[in-house]
Amino acid sequence: MVPLSYYLVLSGILFACGVTGFLIKRNIITIFMSIELMLNGVNLSFVAFAAHWHALAGQVFVFFVMVVAAAEAAVGLAIIIAVYRNRETLNVDRVNLLKL
């Protein structure tokens, strides 16, 4: 038996790592991967809760998260390719036209 909170702590730390990666990484692709990391962290808590409450809905939710992640990856990577085509860089600090 493992306390539920252990899973949640692991999930939380993974999520925090994702957030941190989002903040400190410069490469758009890595930033994107950080988002996936966050989603994974969330998925873990879904599955853990599902086991804890004996509710399969938690696992079903993981599927939906995965679907969304897949859709997001498709569109996001396409955007990254488009950005690269225009700006010749993957560094977010150089993709900064969105300012005064």
Partner: protein, 653 residues
């Protein structure tokens, strides 16, 4: 209430005509426009005659509910029509006189470039007027009321390129708004207290209420407010100022709208609301006083006017004052009777005046006419009949109705009668003055064809011929028909026939009526003789002053000095209004509303808000660095705050 499913067709037919001419008239030939313009009101008139033929007092009132309109809770107002004896009279007057004036207009407006537009407006007016007359509730009546206002505005400003016409239209519109304001508030009061605007329902609720003899109450308030509306529409003191200016419109318009029909809407409305007024003696008294004063006041102005149409305009105001006086003394049927005869002879007067103007090439100043009887005998004949009618000479139409009013007025208060009699004298004087100045004596107009150009601005009848000439038959035939009506129209009032016809409507009748019957017939005969004598005397005076001794008027005017000036300038009422109302309004709007409220409050607050927003944005925009990660950082910080708050909530628990 008997159903009559054809009722709605009467207003709908002119509307169809207006729509067809309005939308298609520009591309249609003049003959097509004429056909459309005449057929639809003609059909409406025929239908009205047919309905009148089938009309039986026992089956009245007729009604027809065309469509639901407003249904809010228990309050309903529908597109529903209502026909009783009162509406029937109005219906026949409006469609009949209206149709004749349409026919006349064909000749009068033939050369106008806005021919189709004119008839579209005219038909539109017919539609609204018939809606007003046939409405079964105040709201639909109000629609007609506003609609005729609109048509009037459009037609007064028909030659909108002329500055005076455009401003006259605006003046009519604005002055009418003041009256409508009172009317509307009256309607709101009715809704508030009687929860309906339907005539039948409202009157059924009011009938049990005892007359407010002791002081002003709800019904008095409603009555006075309704009267304010009627004053606006029917050009009574103090809102009469628009009507003389409205003469800027084409003459048939003056005849139809500003003499025969629209201006009588106020009288009709007061008569329709007789149930309210009968229970509000104070309001009734106010109506009577205003009517009497207007009658007298306008008549005096009429003496000094030289513009043929303006004389008629003031005479119209004066005659409307008579009708109000009749209503004010509780003789509603007498008022309606005068309304009807007035429609005949005043319509005729205007049309004949139009014919005169047509004949002399657009000239309206009577001083430049004279001796026209030889040039345009038919016009002179018909106009003479009309003048006799309005002056109240036996047995012309005006005599019967005016005499009825004076008789009823006397029964209420002899002061009304006295002023009415004096007014009748003045009326007779200035009407014959008009007739003599125009048709007798020598022609004083310019004989050469110069006027063709000098009056081109009038936009009509600009063919260049020097001789005054008779109008075409299409104009003369309506004149003749109206002349006949002016001659015999009063006969329906013999032996109180008209009174009895309308009796079912005014059955709850004024208390004064009963008393009148007991008064001796001899007295009534005496009064008749007196009023005829007065009229003849006025005519004689006019003959003396303008035919046999034409130098006298100038002398009299000189001797009167300032008073004559005042009369000539319509007692400076327009100037007074400009000083009293217009200027303060304009100044107030400029200083307080524009520079005070609009600039200092609204503009400044908006500018300050915008400035504030910009200042704040100037500071905040540094957050928008264009750096994606700084945005992400803000999101994360925000999420962290939310999470921290939730944790704090959870831990705190």
């Amino acid at each position: 209430m008997t159903q009559n499913p054809y009722l709605w067709l009467i207003p709908a037919l002119p509307l169809a005509g207006a729509a067809i001419n309005g939308f298609l008239g520009r591309r249609s030939s003049k003959n097509a426009v004429t056909t459309i313009a005449l057929v639809f009101p003609g059909l409406a008139f025929a239908l009205a005659l047919w309905i009148a033929a089938q009309f039986s007092s026992s089956a009245a009132p007729y009604g027809f509910n065309l469509a639901h309109w407003i249904r809010a809770g228990s309050f309903t107002a529908d597109f529903a029509f209502y026909l009783d004896q009162l509406s029937l009279v109005m219906l026949l007057v409006v469609t009949g006189v209206g149709f004749l004036i349409h026919v006349y207009s064909v000749g009068y407006m033939w050369d106008d470039p806005g021919y189709y537009r004119f008839f579209s407006y005219l038909n539109l007016f017919m539609f609204f007027m018939l809606t007003l007359v046939l409405a079964n509730n105040y709201l639909l009546m109000f629609i007609g009321w506003e609609g005729v206002g609109l048509a009037s505005y459009l037609l007064i400003g028909f030659w909108f390129t002329k500055d005076s016409a455009a401003s006259a239209g605006k003046k009519a519109f604005i002055v009418n708004r003041i009256g409508d304001f009172g009317f509307l508030i009256g309607l709101f009061l009715i809704i508030q207290h009687f929860h309906s605007l339907n005539f039948t329902e409202v009157f059924d609720k009011i009938r049990p209420i005892a007359p407010e003899t002791t002081g002003a109450g709800l019904l008095t308030t409603i009555g006075i407010l309704l009267m304010v509306g009627a004053c606006g529409k029917s050009a009574q003191i103090p809102l009469y100022v628009w009507l003389p200016d409205a003469m800027e419109g084409p003459t048939p318009v003056s005849a139809l709208i500003h003499a025969a029909t629209m201006v009588t809407a106020g009288v009709y409305m007061v008569a329709r609301s007789h149930v309210i007024f009968e229970r509000a003696p104070i309001a009734l008294t106010v109506v009577a006083i205003i009517g009497t004063l207007t009658a007298f006041f306008a008549a005096t102005i009429g003496i000094a006017q030289t513009d043929i149409k303006r004389v008629l305009a003031y005479s119209t105001v004066s005659q409307l004052g008579y009708m109000f006086m009749a209503c004010g003394v509780g003789a509603f049927s007498a008022g309606i009777f005068h309304l009807m005869t007035h429609a005949f002879f005043k319509g005729l007067l205007f049309l004949a005046a139009g014919s005169v103007i047509h004949a002399v090439g657009g000239e309206q100043d009577m001083r430049k006419m004279g001796g026209l009887a030889t040039y345009i005998p038919w016009t002179a004949l018909t106009m003479g009949i009309a003048t006799l009618a309005i002056a109240g000479i036996w047995p012309f139409a005006g005599f019967w109705s005016k005499d009825e009013i004076l008789w009823k007025a006397y029964q209420t208060n002899w002061v009304y009668w006295l002023i009415g009699l004096v007014t009748a004298f003045i009326t007779s004087f200035y009407m014959f003055r008009l007739f003599f100045m125009t048709f007798l004596g020598d022609y004083r107009g310019i004989q050469v064809d110069k006027h063709g150009q000098s009056h081109a601005a009038h936009g009509h009848d600009a063919h260049g011929h020097g001789e005054p000439h008779e109008s075409p038959m299409v104009m003369l035939v309506p004149l003749m028909i109206l002349a006949v009506l002016s001659l015999v129209g009063g006969l329906v009032g013999i032996n109180d026939g008209f009174d009895h016809f309308l009796a079912p409507v005014f059955s709850s009748g004024a208390a004064a009526e009963g008393a009148g019957e007991t008064a001796s017939h001899g007295l009534e005969m005496l009064f008749m003789v007196v009023s005829v004598l007065v009229a003849v005397f006025g005519a004689g005076l006019a003959w003396v002053l303008y035919v046999s001794r034409p130098y006298l008027p100038q002398k009299i005017a000189d001797s009167l000095g300032g008073f004559y000036e005042a009369v000539l300038n319509k007692y400076y009422v327009d100037e007074l209004y400009a000083k009293l109302f217009v200027k303060p309004l304009v100044d107030g709007s400029t200083r307080i509303l524009w520079q005070g409220v609009d600039r200092k409050v609204i503009d400044d607050s908006i500018n300050d808000a915008a400035d504030g927003a910009r200042h704040v944005s100037d500071e905040v925009r540094h957050m928008q660095s264009g750096n994606l990660r700084s945005y992400a950082g803000w999101i994360a910080a925000g999420a962290a705050v939310v999470v921290a708050y939730m944790i704090w909530l959870g831990v705190g628990r």
